[in-house]
Amino acid sequence: MSYSGWRAFQFFANPFHWEKDRGTYALAQWVARRRLRALVYLAAASSLLVLTNLEGAVWLALAVVLVTADILLFGGSPAKKEASLILALFPMLYAIGVWMLLNWLIMGDALYFVRSLLRSGWRGPPAGWARLELTLPEFAAGGLGILALALGALLRDRAAAALGLLAVGAPGVALFLVDRDLLWGPVPLLLCLLPLACMAVGRAAGSMPRAAAAVLCALPLGLTAATLAVPSLSAPRLGPRNDYGLAVTERALVLDPVRQYVLRQSPFAKVFVCGYDGLRVLGGRPDPEFLHSLDFSFGKAMTDYYGCPLYLLVHRPEGRSGMESIHWKFPGIFDAGARNTLIVLGGDHGNWRLFEIVLPEK
């Protein structure tokens, strides 16, 4: 599957994008026509976005600020403003409450879903626009969003301005999250850029003379046609897409020496590769020596593989890797090992450190 095809698949496979577009359309309807139905759609979309993922929640914060400002500035009488705010925000706040309740009931901690972010302290150097891996159509779509924002301000069309701001806000939020190493990649947010820009430009065109509106509407249509017709346009223009190359390099540099080392100790050795970095390095293939673990447990590992020499391969807690559960469940494990189970350093392999799990004496 080509890169652009993969992006299209991700767009249609993810309800996040549906809700985002539906919420954006409802926001425009509410700002332009003050229809109660639009406010309910917006509230429903925002509550579902809260339950979807982190980037949805952060992008939603921008939409919530826009709605709140619009209601407070142009919402009518004080009582009506208050009622509109309650109807707009209550479902989202309820969804947040339910999410925290479920975290508390299942994981025993209401803030479990942000615990890794809080523990990691958002480390990592600023990355800049290059990390967004923007394609030419995404650049153009961002430009259309800015155009819609400017036209909305000039024509005093608040709905067009709000849509333009949301379209431009998508890469802005992506940059904010990627810069802090909180996002695996900007794709989930950038996928919505073109539909958002189309909506913004279409809304702005509605307030313009017919000829100018036709020219303006031709811009997103031409961009969409060019994106579909010329796949090479969707190749990233800024920043290398190096995940695959990095994984292949790490596989050779890390797994092969570790395999040789552990097999010299015992032919029955098992190595637990921790976290999402482990998923990338292992490539999802079954392996007789390497076992992937997103949520490692010493007790379960020693029960499941009783009698086997066990090893643990831990990535250095830098950037996003610092948010892995192995680092916040066992703080300082990379430098000092775990508290209750004796771990002997097996060796460093690039950014990975190998530990041997040794049963504590009874």
Binding site: L36, V40, A79, K80, E82, A83, I86, L87, F90, P91
Partner: protein
């Protein structure tokens, strides 16, 4: 299914009450409509 009815069903009842107040123009009553579960108790 039971959890879904608990969380989604009760929310829909409460929100529908608030929507009714808004639709009828009783904006002052919208916030009190959120207290409907207290009345149920």
């Amino acid at each position: 299914m039971g959890a879904f009815c608990l969380f989604a069903g009760n929310f829909v009842f409460v929100y529908t009450g608030a929507l009714g107040c808004y639709r009828r123009g009783y904006f002052d009553l919208v916030k009190y409509a959120l207290l409907t579960p207290v009345y149920w108790c």
